[in-house]
Symmetry: C2
Amino acid sequence: MDLATKTTAELDAHAAALQHDYDRLRGRNLAIDMTRGKPSPEQLDLCAGLLEAVSLNDCRGEDGTDYRNYGILDGICEAKRLFAEYMEVTPDEIIVGGSASLTMMYDTLAGGVLFGMPGGDGPWKDQMPVKFLCPVPGYDRHFTICEQLGIEMINIDMDDNGPDMDAVEALVRDDASVKGIWCVPKYSNPTGVTYSDAVVDRLAAMAVAAPDFRVIWDNAYAVHHLGGGVAAVKNLLAACKHAGTEDRVLMFGSTSKITLAGAGVAMMAGSLTNIDDAKGKMFVATIGPDKINQLRHVRFLGDRDGIAAHMDKQAAIIAPKFAAVDEILERRLGGKGIATWTKPEGGYFVSVDVLDGCATDVVRLTGEAGVKVVPAGGTFPYGKDPRDRNIRLAPTMPSVGDIRDAMEIFCHCVELATVNKLRRK
Amino acid sequence: MDLATKTTAELDAHAAALQHDYDRLRGRNLAIDMTRGKPSPEQLDLCAGLLEAVSLNDCRGEDGTDYRNYGILDGICEAKRLFAEYMEVTPDEIIVGGSASLTMMYDTLAGGVLFGMPGGDGPWKDQMPVKFLCPVPGYDRHFTICEQLGIEMINIDMDDNGPDMDAVEALVRDDASVKGIWCVPKYSNPTGVTYSDAVVDRLAAMAVAAPDFRVIWDNAYAVHHLGGGVAAVKNLLAACKHAGTEDRVLMFGSTSKITLAGAGVAMMAGSLTNIDDAKGKMFVATIGPDKINQLRHVRFLGDRDGIAAHMDKQAAIIAPKFAAVDEILERRLGGKGIATWTKPEGGYFVSVDVLDGCATDVVRLTGEAGVKVVPAGGTFPYGKDPRDRNIRLAPTMPSVGDIRDAMEIFCHCVELATVNKLRRK
């Protein structure tokens, strides 16, 4: 059944039936939240032993340092070794910090605005307006950082290989006010796209007008597969070294979605020049990260194999939730020509595109029926989806049962909003 | 024996004897660090039970919230209640954050530079130069924040009641570029001075030209007495409310020197307007603090009485160290007219003033004999002590035996540097 081929009378009848069913669904008074990419309690339960991994009389590092005291700006050596392996860099190319990579990214861009970046011509605040490229749909919190700091954002379309590199290369080549690009290279938020080798190579090799241009490489889902094993992404720092542009990239990661959200360990990596610069800026603002929590993580996770084994268990918990989302989308919307959606192999989201101009209505209807998703436009800079069509679903937190209920409602709302839209034409 | 009354020949002979003994002391190859205010291992050992206070299946808040997950920007309600009591504010006047109050203070001033403060005329970066008043001697890390952010610093002398308020009032009254003042109101770093009620009242009531003037009230040593009980400081926020200036003060505290340094809990407090503003700025940079560590602290410390009992144990450990410092200073330098020093009743430091122009030499000689103290000038903005006389001693970390060794050397170096200085006159 293709709605586009229906007559007005058929659409009216269909709308009436959909509205009737919608009123019944709304009467169920559900309260299901698919807004944020939050791990479920079952995922968090996998961390048994983490909180007991360090005791007060067992807080010394391998060199005898008492990790209960002040000091060590860039992370304990054990954590630098483990997370260097995780980030595919050397231990002197990493800073292991507090609990939030978002904070490290904010501090990085705020540091650019206040003090500038290595290779550049001073603080960005003295070069305003400066701009960042934002592959869309993307992560709202990245965009909020730019908005807060007064960094103008330029939308870049995503395709199946990553950002549209023709557009990226054209924009960075001549405009020295373009200071960077946000990238989530693996299982991208929300599209699930993993960057191709060609995209990575082009990011490393492209000519840039700004001498302090930075790729903010937020590898938030580096090991977060959905059962099929971890996708490979070419190492951008290695590619940049090969291209002679090693100061171009700043890489970020965290264990927020590996161990405990909010009580994990965050990290940034890059060239020695960039790491030295970051340490210099950090020194002013801190006496050091929570080393006890870093030690806890090292002891609990062990090594890269330990991380992989842990993530296999997480995949077993969340894969059925993604499967339920896809199954219901397919059954309810498949073949109707009114929505497309991603089938991610990792990450935390399913990205749905409805017909242009329908996303706001879908989100409103869904919300009024007790299913919360991110506001329409939330995946775009300034909260503005130019086509009003993208909706991000976050299936990890609710139970499979709740997801089934939520997705039935969601699909119903997609159909209702679409029919109403077609009737208004 | 007053060195000032000696003849040149007597000074020469005295110098030769001192130098001979100094060479012998240097040969002992000591390595004692009295640089930073770090707790000793024995103090940290008092936290038995802290790291085991929260287990994975016991992470829920009193309202059922799972503290292992994302969310809660301003601290868990249990921590807000405990530390509101500690800071003498209400729970809605506090933000409980990560592990470092220094980071909160940096973010506060960086936020002023980038975005401005409530009541002000926009970002400080658009009003440069802006200035801060710095009571001296003071805390080097405060001054480093200003220097990094390009905030000019103006020295204000400290007396036994706090900063010289005549000077403060004269500077803030007419100059709208003066945006704030650093204060450590209790057991001040390094002088140990506790602000008098009159100073607090004048800070609250004084006329200020800048509508966004802020007192940065770093109450780092709120409960850190040395055995004689906790000194009282008048509540500045309450005084400001009384004076109708409640947005003037931002108060900071942390458990870094109560529980574990670097793995504690930090907090800021102020008027609802200021707290709302801080939350708005923080929201962009974080998804929330480490709530597990906050819960650990609430369970371990319990309440204000629990904190007080814990700090009594700490006082029992460090008071003998301060007593050793004072005893040796008195025995070696008393009556010689070449040094004065503080006799703090709390905090982490003893502040020594030697004769003008001698501090750099004393620190150099002390360091070469194996006793590290903060570089001369370190207690002043830009690292410049105009009289080159102040030296900060941090006695908490070394053992009493090491402190005795270190202080014999320190006193010897004070005498040697002074005699050499007098001979050059």
